[in-house]
């Protein structure tokens, strides 16, 4: 059996009396897209925050590429190959798209403590940054200040930034949010082949996109994984229908 790239073991987190995350086990295998779905308030955000490193779990562990990263910082996890996008775009707003990608590349190269040569004049990094922007179709918008990009363009830039890290694992938090049907279709097409580069843990509300993309689906309700398996099984599961699909 192949070794999972990402493995969550009994992850638990409570806020007061509320168990936002209750003994979650989950694996992400090489080359797959594993979708995580669940109604609002199911604890998806809490789970993601623990995987990325913003929240320390009360119990359980996060393993990334076989290493226990539970006590590592966000930056350290990113350096070990965890790339992510955010539900609400999180970018360096005053920089250009290119500046944002350069920064991500610099992070990947562990090169933040260089004080002398201008980053923008680093031709090797610049070429790589342009190539990444081309890949997501933003090359023409490279020098535009990020705060003036459209919503869709920002979503794409988020993914470009995650890719810049050359991640082994991609954590995508509702990448389709606010995209509209055409944007969703394009992004779905873009993500499909990406799983061969990095396994993807996909949190998404758009069920069409989830069913189109996912190899496996886990359903999170009240902090617990109530079902997990191939797409067809989940689609047929009565429990899932009741807990989740039923109310949409």
């Amino acid at each position: 059996m192949t070794e999972p790239l990402l493995e969550l073991q009994g992850l638990s987190k409570a806020f007061g009396a509320v168990k936002a995350c209750d003994g979650v086990d989950l694996t992400l295998l090489p080359g797959e897209i594993h979708a995580l779905i669940g109604p609002n308030g199911a604890g998806k955000s809490t789970l993601i925050a623990q995987v990325a490193g913003w929240l320390k779990p009360d119990a359980g562990a996060v393993h990334l590429l076989g290493e226990d990263v539970s006590h590592l910082s966000v930056a350290a996890r990113a350096n070990r190959g965890l790339g992510r996008s955010f539900q609400v775009s999180s970018l360096a707003g005053e920089f250009s798209a290119l500046g944002n990608v350069l920064l991500a590349l610099q992070g990947r190269d562990h090169g933040a403590f260089r004080f002398w040569s201008p980053l923008r004049k680093d031709t090797r990094l610049r070429a790589e940054a342009v190539a990444i922007l081309e890949r997501v179709g933003l090359a023409e918008r490279a020098t535009v200040q990020v705060s003036t990009l459209s919503h869709g363009e920002r979503r794409l830039l988020e993914i470009a930034l995650a890719l810049a890290l050359r991640p082994k694992v991609l954590l995508l938090d509702e990448p389709m949010a606010g995209l509209g049907p055409e944007g969703t279709r394009q992004l779905t097409e873009f993500l499909q082949p990406l799983k061969n580069e990095a396994a993807i843990l996909l949190v998404e509300h758009d069920m069409d996109a989830v069913f189109a993309l996912a190899d496996r689906i886990s359903v999170l309700v009240y902090g617990k994984v109530i079902a997990s398996g191939p797409v067809e099984d989940i689609r047929r599961s009565a429990a899932v229908r009741e807990a989740y699909l039923g109310d949409s």
């Binding site: 999180s90 005053e94 201008p118 980053l119 930034l161």
Partner: protein
């Protein structure tokens, strides 16, 4: 690119004016204006230091007077012991005073770096308003320490009878001293420009705009911010050492929270996060102080009104008015 070249032009004009003023004053035999120009250069230097933390890094330090004053006290204490021929420390090793500027600057840089490392390490655990307040409180702590140590003048401060010296040039000559201050200011501006454009500076600016993004890119924000805070403090500390030597005096007022506010004012009046902003701000501040202060005691009232006006209505400061909005590409 037009905007950028306009800013370069404004910068050059500002630097040129500051250089020309004392030269003209020397020709007209007005030494007061030479020392006024030195004052502008020194306070601008202090502002350049703060600008790195505040303007580029978004760390609103309300305690930079601590570093300014520490630099000043290094100059004062070194000169005091050199003058007296006594030792600063006699055990376990003997450390005497020094009247050499280069030694003073080196020690001032070391002392402020260590202080900033300690203050920054604790303060940067907090953010927002807590950061503002905790930096203020640390500066107050050093202020009260200075007051309560009678050996170095306590509340009365410490006079520097002979200005600290340089190997080849005569630092007691006002124009020579101005050139020193001016040279250090240009050096600090040049270093700031390099740092800001370098990978470190990009990471620092990202820490201001969006720390989440920085961490997600695999760069831990805390070490970046702490390093920038220390560099910022060292620049302000060197300015403090120069200020003490310019005035021939160091006292607790250099450490007071009003001083912290003033250094912030230079940065804001000039334009936050603009390379030459602190120079524009310090120059305007000193001009207001010496010319309006010359014919009315109420100049602080006017300063307050100007400052209020800038904050409420002209947010880019002087550089914003002269050179347009700040641009990042």
């Amino acid at each position: 690119m037009i905007e950028r070249s306009r800013e370069t032009l404004v910068n050059a004009v500002l630097a040129g004016l500051l250089l020309a003023a004392p030269l003209v004053a020397t020709l007209l035999d007005e030494p007061f204006y030479v020392s006024l120009a030195s004052r502008v250069a020194i306070l601008a230097l202090a502002g350049v230091g703060l600008n790195l933390a505040l303007g580029y890094g978004g760390m609103v330090s309300f305690g930079h007077a601590a570093f300014f004053g520490l630099g000043g006290y290094v100059a004062g204490i070194a000169a005091f012991h050199a003058f007296e021929g006594s030792a600063f420390l006699s055990w376990p090793v003997t450390i005497g005073g020094s009247d050499q500027l280069l030694v003073v600057w080196l020690v001032a840089a070391l002392v402020t770096a260590l202080a900033a490392l300690a203050i920054g390490a604790i303060s940067l655990r907090t953010s927002g308003v807590y950061f503002i307040m905790i930096t203020l409180a640390f500066a107050q702590m050093i202020y009260y320490l200075a007051i309560s140590i009678p050996a170095y003048g306590g509340e009365d401060g410490l006079a520097i009878y002979l200005r600290n010296q340089l190997p080849l040039a005569d630092s007691s000559d006002p124009l020579v001293f101005f050139f020193l201050c001016y040279g250090l200011l240009l050096l600090a501006l040049f270093l700031s420009a390099r740092i800001v454009a370098a990978p470190f500076g990009m990471a620092l600016q990202c820490a201001r705009m969006n720390e989440v993004r920085l961490a997600t890119s695999g760069i831990a924000p805390y070490p970046i911010k702490l390093t920038a805070f220390v560099i910022s403090a060292v620049i302000t500390g060197i300015a403090g050492a120069l200020f003490a030597d310019l005035n021939g005096f160091v006292g607790p007022s250099m450490l007071s929270w009003h001083r912290s506010g003033e250094i912030m004012i230079f940065v804001i009046l000039g334009g936050v996060g603009r390379l030459f902003g602190p120079l524009a701000g310090a120059a305007l501040f000193i001009l207001l102080e010496s010319f309006i202060g010359g014919f009315t005691d109420r100049w602080q009232l006017l300063l307050g009104a100007v400052l209020l006006g800038v904050v409420l209505f002209a947010r880019g400061g002087v550089m914003g008015l002269l050179a347009g909005r700040a641009r990042h590409d």
